[in-house]
Amino acid sequence: MASTALLPRRHYLNDGYGVKSWLLTRDHKRIGLLYLAGVTFFFFVGGAFAVLIRLELTTPVGDLVTDETYNKLFTMHGVMMVFFFLIPAIPSVLGNFLVPIMIGAKDLAFPKLNLASWYIYMIGALFTMYAIVTGGLDTGWTFYTPFSTVSSTSNVIPAALGIFITGFSSILTGLNFIVTIHRMRAPGMTWFRLPLFIWSHYATSLIMVLGTPVIAITILLVAAERLFHFGFFDPAVGGDPVLFQHLFWFYSHPAVYIMILPAMGVISELVAAFCRKPVFGYSFVAFASLAIAVLGFLVWGHHMFVAGQSVYAALIFSILSFLVAIPSAVKVFNWTATMYKGSVSWETPMLYAIGFIGLFTIGGLTGLFLASVGLDVHVTDTYFIIAHFHYIMVGGTIMAYLGGLHYWWPKISGRLYNEWLAKFSALVIFLGFNLTFFPQFILGYLGMPRRYHAYPPEFQVLNVLSSAGASILGVGYLIPMAYLMWSLRYGRAAGPNPWGAVGLEWTTTSPPPTENFTETPEVTWDAYDYQSTVDSRQSTFPAES
């Protein structure tokens, strides 16, 4: 075919075709694609549960499913989305693919460990899927004791083990990134020449390495308590269920930053590339990532304002939670400042980036409402919380993930997707998202509690709006699935640098060769050096001008 003429003759995708060449690969790019298949599958599994939840909530009476089934639906939606999609999505797919290329390395420091992390992820998912298909799980994704250890009759142990196991894949990925970023940078690639994507992945990796072991041990204690009647959180032997909440949120709050920090890294890349400008205040954005990672470990208590913790603890946690807003706001302001007087172009990835900035701002500001104790007591366990964290996780992380996927898709696949369809679906997702979740802010403020399958009839209008939005959102997620798959076979060849962007990943072929670069690059320029590098390096690829 004529369209394949521009693809490089030798690249990582045609370096072996058999099943073994994928399942035993040590190439970080192929492992990234293995993860892509995994997280996409679990995204749609989690999405299927969301569909059922929204269907149930279109009417005030609990008519579609029983209350018990509904408990299982929201639990399995949460577990699938949090542990098997949101946490691995950006680091394990885009991070895996890009971290070595962006720093000019041939691979991650430990390729075998990287492959092992994918298998660990899949084995963990298998355990959890087993729990789901053999009767489900109804504890909520938070596994609160004593319900999870004593009362629940659902499959807590296999689900808990699945999450325990998957945690190790996250730890190994983080470990691999930290060592790679420290030891594998190309000559001249100093810390302050690193793309901000790398900085945010470094910060994310710190959280993965420091936080994940704590959830691992906590969930193990829950399993031991359930299985052997050991009492750690059981009041019958003097244990304290609130201690479980402390240990759980010590990881699970930072886990939110595992989801959002890599997303911020993606947005920094997109904003710079489509404004043709260096990111405003590079070092502030870089250090903001580290600040978020550090502060993120000190705010877990804001999930426990109503759990009976002391009012002084609540006060401190409240203040610290407000502090997280500072580095987050630094990022939002700096992206906006980057756009100011930039040569902004509106390709699909940029649409996602703009969407991210707006939605993340709403999610972040409502986070401040929740960080103030008085207001939080009023909206605790209402749809306000649900709306808030979906603005961060869906409006933030998934928008950035899709933006990044579109931006680097030509690099990953070597081919271009249908730009018109892509723009259309970005718009559909943005509209569908807001229609789904904005009404939930109002519902929560009016007092509709989360985790019930029935509700007073006066809430129906807003719930119907939300369910209508969810159906639009669902369609929006299916369209990219279709045209991206289509582009794999029929898309035009992209060439090395379809966006005219800077960054080492755009200096190699699309798709890159297995060893990433034909010779190790020497970096003599800063990140986002849009004024000088584009001109000088475009001459390297005359086909691209």
Partner: protein, 219 residues
Amino acid sequence: MSELIQHPALAHHFDSLEQQKEASTLGMWVFLVTEVLFFGGLFATYLIYRNWYPDAFAAASHELDVTLGTINTVVLITSSLTMALAVHAAQLGQRRLLLIFLVATMTLGAVFLGIKSVEYYHKFAEHLIPGPGFQFEKEPVHVRHAQLFFSLYFVMTGLHALHMVIGIGIMLVMWWWSWRGTITAEYYSPIEISGLYWHFVDIVWIFLFPLLYLIGRHA
């Protein structure tokens, strides 16, 4: 960079053996940090409950066998010594000594696990396994909180023992590599980073021993 002939142990994605060694050492340190946090969750739980129930913890701690615990502590510290000597022998390329010290380390590790299982068996025979069958007749007033102590005892020492088993597995691989000749004076980092792991597992025990066995013994 590649003026030397490429060393067979050098992986394709590293420029030099030195870079490879630095990477694997850093990797092990990062992993150990993870481990600190992993055990940290348990130590935090322990600290809180011990502060809440000091008397019950002291009473329950008296049920543990200090003699066997002390012997095990000595065994483990000695294994750390043989491990350090193994690393030293590897650095000097003394293959025979390296093999001997690795065997000594594994043997001491196995002795530790043997003594540990004797202790576990005693606890089982004395109905000190937490759960419905738990009995604490000496001081029945503490029967609830003593269960908490023994839950922590079994999970903490159990996870430690699991780390020992993994450690012995790693040492077996190291022994095989040393025997086969993969480990040389130029390429000994596998021994070194396995040693880091071994010492870490030792240090965990150094904390576990006083916290579990020696509560209220100073009086």
